[in-house]
Amino acid sequence: MRSPLLAAPPPKPVPRFFLRRLADSEHWLSRLLLTPAIVYIALLVGFPFLLSIYYSVSDATVASQQIHFVGLENFNRIMASQTFWTSLKNTVLITAISQFFVIVLANVLAVALIADFRGKWLVRFLILLPWVAPISLSSIGWLWIFDSIYSIINWTARAIGIFGPNYWPIWLGEPTLAMTSIIIVQVWRMLPLATIVILAGLSSIPQDIHDAAAVDGAGFWLHLFTITLPLVAPIAIVALLFGIVFTVTDLIVVFVLTRGGPYDTTQVLTSWAYFTGIQGGDLAGGAAISLFMLPVLVAVSILFLRYARRAEVA
């Protein structure tokens, strides 16, 4: 039996005309081409994002499909927990300290890299490695470097006399050292991106400006601090914004190195949200914890927007 659809008369020329018009109309075509991407993003970023806000004021758990509105109860509950405040403090500390070092070191490294020299591509390749290698895998490299018995840092420091014969720090076993280790890895991971972005900013400064300064007799340091760095500052800020977002929202480094230990002293918001929401099954609590990252993300987005506007005008 033929389906009614096939039995229908052949399509009239009107739809073809319509399609032709659609394929030609810039207005409708661009909307048609954009819609699939926007729908996908709305469904897979927008919807779960709203759901996360809803979970944070509900009693959602892994075990139950029933969800009820509970107001701010989750927030009261997590804010009564000492570990939450430790996580918040650690997130701020790790981000602030690591990004301070990243911006300072990235400027030094970028200035050193701006001139041409032999083997530059190899140096650049080696410098970029931490950023391009999957961080969950390179963190394992650091786990081995920080190993309690076979730490290469300790062996080297003892061999060259920095550590005495009785000093053998257990990097990941003691709270302050564990935090230091996490900060070192975060600096290590984010430094390449900041460097390469700042380097691109340095190369985009017109040669005329450097020449004019040279004619005026500016020495290296004066030139650096009054001309080069101020001109590169707007781009350095972009590098900093991304660095902040990627560090605040990172779960991997803490997860691989310490799992929040020893005794939850190195938990950050993301890891505490994971252990509460996913491993503990308390979806509502986990969502509430992770939403404490939101103010940072909103602030960074606003700054980024302002910067993008300015770049557009320039």
């Binding site: 394929a23 699939p36 050193a112 080696l126 410098i127 993301t270 986990g286």
Partner: protein, 284 residues
């Protein structure tokens, strides 16, 4: 300094640069160098604290590589990663190429705002979304399935690649399409038959970045996947090989290097385009 001749100052500066670069290269590349050494050392040599760890006291060995490939699921994880990567790249291109083109060709500030809005969704982190997603994925029956990753990964590859491709398409002059339309092609036809063929470099860049983002992803993988046979490589190595009391350091370091190095080499070829995308095209 004032009295020093220019050549002395120049060589002093070159020396300072050399010292700075040596310091940074050591800091940034050392973990990979250390992985390389560990990969080829015998276990006996690795665990003898009396030995100088920088030197080989036993001849280099391939034992760790053999263990990795024959006694672990590493090959399976690599295959899983490739499977997810290929499908995610395909989905990404289908969505991001048209969207990037549309954003590049739309006039007015609304297009610019829309472009930035799409890019900003790239900043909404998996570490906020993974909790609602864990419920969504289980309701869809995709728990412990690679298809959960195929579904979710485009949520970060599409915004990023749309933004990247928008920049590429903007660099292609409109005149090309107008000429093609005079020759009788529709605007859509001009896009498909004229713009896409000359944009292969841009599309290839998007492919590389989408694929590397998939290889690097960890948070969703560790949340959705529970059985070791379905891990991707960036989740399988840190969660499965680390568990238990015995650390197979040699095999683990090999597992990390084998994935990191090819990704790093390919990525390096495209990193400048990545920077242009990141800085809103302010540096070219």
């Amino acid at each position: 300094m004032k009295t020093a001749p220019a050549s002395v100052r120049g060589s002093a500066r070159a020396g300072a640069r050399g010292a700075i670069l040596l310091f940074f290269v050591t800091f940034l590349a050392f973990p990979f160098y250390w992985m390389l050494i560990t990969t080829f050392k015998t276990t006996r040599d690795l665990y003898n604290t009396a030995n100088n760890p920088y030197l080989f006291h036993d001849p280099p060995t391939l034992d760790h590589l053999q263990v990795l490939f024959s006694s672990t699921q590493y090959m399976q994880w690599l295959a899983n990663t490739a499977f997810v990567g290929v499908i995610v790249v395909a989905i990404t291109l289908v969505l991001a190429v048209p969207a990037g083109y549309a954003l590049a060709r739309m006039r007015g500030s609304s297009a610019q705002n829309l472009g930035i809005a799409i890019f900003l969704t790239y900043l909404v982190p998996p570490t906020i979304l993974f909790i609602p997603f864990s419920r969504i994925i289980s309701n869809l029956g995709l728990q412990d399935s690679l298809w959960s990753l195929v579904l979710v990964y485009p949520s970060f590859t599409v915004p990023f690649c749309t933004w990247l491709l928008m920049g590429f398409f903007k660099a292609i002059p409109r005149d090309l399409e107008d000429a093609a339309m005079v020759d009788g092609l529709s605007r859509l036809g001009a896009f498909l038959k004229v713009v896409i063929p000359i944009s292969t470099a841009g599309i290839l860049t998007a492919v590389i970045f989408a694929f590397t983002l998939v290889i690097q992803e960890f948070v969703y993988g560790v949340t959705f996947i529970t059985s070791s046979a379905s891990y991707t490589v960036s989740v399988g190595v840190p969660t499965f090989l680390v568990r238990g009391d015995v650390y197979f350091w040699g095999s683990m370091m090999a597992a990390c290097l084998i994935v990191s190095l090819p990704v790093a080499i390919v990525y390096n070829l495209f990193v400048d385009r990545f920077v242009v995308g990141f800085t809103v095209g302010a540096v070219k």
